[in-house]
Symmetry: C2
């Protein structure tokens, strides 16, 4: 299996070789589908926020395949993530990237994945409850993008970011312990819920989306929608009433005021809302300069416990599917 140190060092060498002729890396494209796309969102937010020059974008794989950006070329790095490594549009995205001459990095949990055939560098990542979150695709992609940014233009908080990667597993373990009883209470309260809105901001918005589309829609066949905390007040909040269910992921860091504004509204006009607050769960021990980017790593692990509890009380195992992998589409 993979380690962050190993992968960032290999990427560093590949970047050095690639730019030896003096032509710098000019953009990073992050490409995947569904849950894997969610894992790339924090790195996209990190680069978009911190890069002075480097361009970045996030694509659902089939859009990347059908409407590939003109910029895609030999000054691009493309990171494609596919858990099973065989999703046709993800494989095709990696193939196109190679054809265009981009430095192509693939991430997968499958050691015989088709997608690796189109990679300059393939990362085999760990998965499952016993794995270290450091070695999950979300943190690995953050670490890879940290190296790319450092290589391309330097990043003042580079050492803080590396330190945070070393600290995040302990933070997550403490947080999961803290929410133990809360997940049971949550499952009891929302056992008959049919629809949830999931809100967050910053690096964690992607994970609000992920909890909606993967954990609730895919794994529980429940209706769900992600709303950016900053967007809530510009349309969506008009559905608020005392029956509607909300889950709000409150970030530590710069966009915290956006999430807190949602809570302050829900306190007045809603009744059924669950708050998961990264600060209260202990993420504040990470360096302030980079804490924003680690909120979603915490939220992902904690929310796995929430969905497990909900699945149990609903008698709807997380693995149950009616279409995915069962019918043609």
């Amino acid at each position: 299996m993979s380690s962050i140190a190993l992968n960032t060092s290999a990427l560093g060498e590949a970047l050095a070789a690639r730019t030896a002729d003096g032509r710098p890396i000019s953009e990073v494209f992050l490409v995947a589908c569904g849950g894997s796309l969610v894992d790339l969102y924090p790195a996209r937010f990190f680069l978009a926020t911190e890069a002075r020059r480097l361009r970045t974008d996030l694509y659902t794989a089939n859009e990347f395949v059908h409407a590939a950006p003109k910029a895609l070329g030999d000054q691009s790095v493309v990171i494609v993530c596919s858990h099973g490594g065989i999703t046709p549009e993800a494989v095709e995205a990696a193939r196109i990237s190679r054809v265009r001459g981009s430095l192509t990095v693939t991430l997968t949990h499958n050691d015989s994945a088709e997608i690796a055939a189109f990679a300059d560098h393939n990362v085999l990542y760990e998965w499952g409850d016993e794995s270290s979150v450091q070695n999950n695709p979300m943190a690995i992609t953050l670490a890879l993008c940290l190296e790319i940014l450092q290589h391309a233009e330097g990043y003042p908080a580079y050492q803080d970011f590396r330190a945070a990667i070393q600290q995040i597993d302990a933070v997550v373990a403490t947080a999961r312990h803290k929410v133990g009883e809360r997940t049971t209470a949550f499952a009891q309260t929302y056992r008959d819920a049919e629809l949830f809105y999931v809100l967050s901001s910053g690096a964690s918005y992607g994970h609000a989306y992920g909890f909606a589309i993967c954990s609730l829609m895919e794994m529980q066949w429940l209706h769900a929608s992600a709303i950016h905390s900053g967007e809530f007040f510009h349309g969506p909040f008009e559905v608020t009433d005392r029956k509607t269910n909300f889950i709000v992921l409150i970030n530590e860091g710069r966009t915290r005021p956006l999430d807190e504004r949602v809570i302050s509204f829900l306190e007045r006009y809603a009744e059924r809302y669950e708050i998961i607050d990264a600060r209260e769960l202990g993420i504040g021990v990470l360096p302030k300069s980079v804490v924003d980017y680690f909120n979603p790593v915490l939220f992902y692990s904690v929310l796995c416990d929430y969905r497990e509890a909900l699945a149990k009380v609903r008698n709807h195992p997380l693995e149950t599917r009616r279409y995915m992998g069962k019918v043609d589409y």
Copy 2:
């Protein structure tokens, strides 16, 4: 009132003056909230797809304010759109852009808008059923970004794009005429619906989002969620059954296969879905090189007729609000 010709010419002069010292424009930030953010999405997709070098990003205003990108500076153009021109976070976004030395363009429908005080160039746009879609914020922003791209690096389909802007009003008029009876039938079929999923791809995904959060959630207090057609098969489609309601906006252009794949699935496993197909509605007369970017202009106008019909049959006027502009938040 404004005209595209007037505004693009003024912007062209501002860009020429700004880059006279040889330092080019390096990024375009598009910033707004809710319905105005939706109006900026097609231009964001256009630049992300067509620009070889120019960087672009789209921000909900309060995220831009609290976590402004480091790249924001005197080589940036920032376009901020606010219908009323007084939304605090949009005004603040414009103010920050000026402070950072960016070329700041504001768009508003309010001729005494506070936001214009922070603009290098303010565009007062037309609005309402009788206005030309050419002079609505979606097309104006597309036209402004076309000029920026042409100025920054040249764009091979520049003339095609200009031609399409001239053609789009006639296309929209024909399409609206075509859907007249369909909107009544739609309203009858879905009069008791409580939740919709709205799907699209490419430049139109932003409009799927807009129809969900503005037309349905804000104006009808109905539950709704936008799903990217490419993402549908990676989680969301597991909620599909014969009772769930879908609206699918099928694009003409490169991402059409993504939307068609959704339809082919819904034909087998759903019963309640409305198809709005830009090709069938006549958008194919626009130049093939640029047609992708004009789908959402068509969809917006046509969907206004759908929502009007739905509002009528539900006896819920489009203007009714319970929180927006009525309570503090």
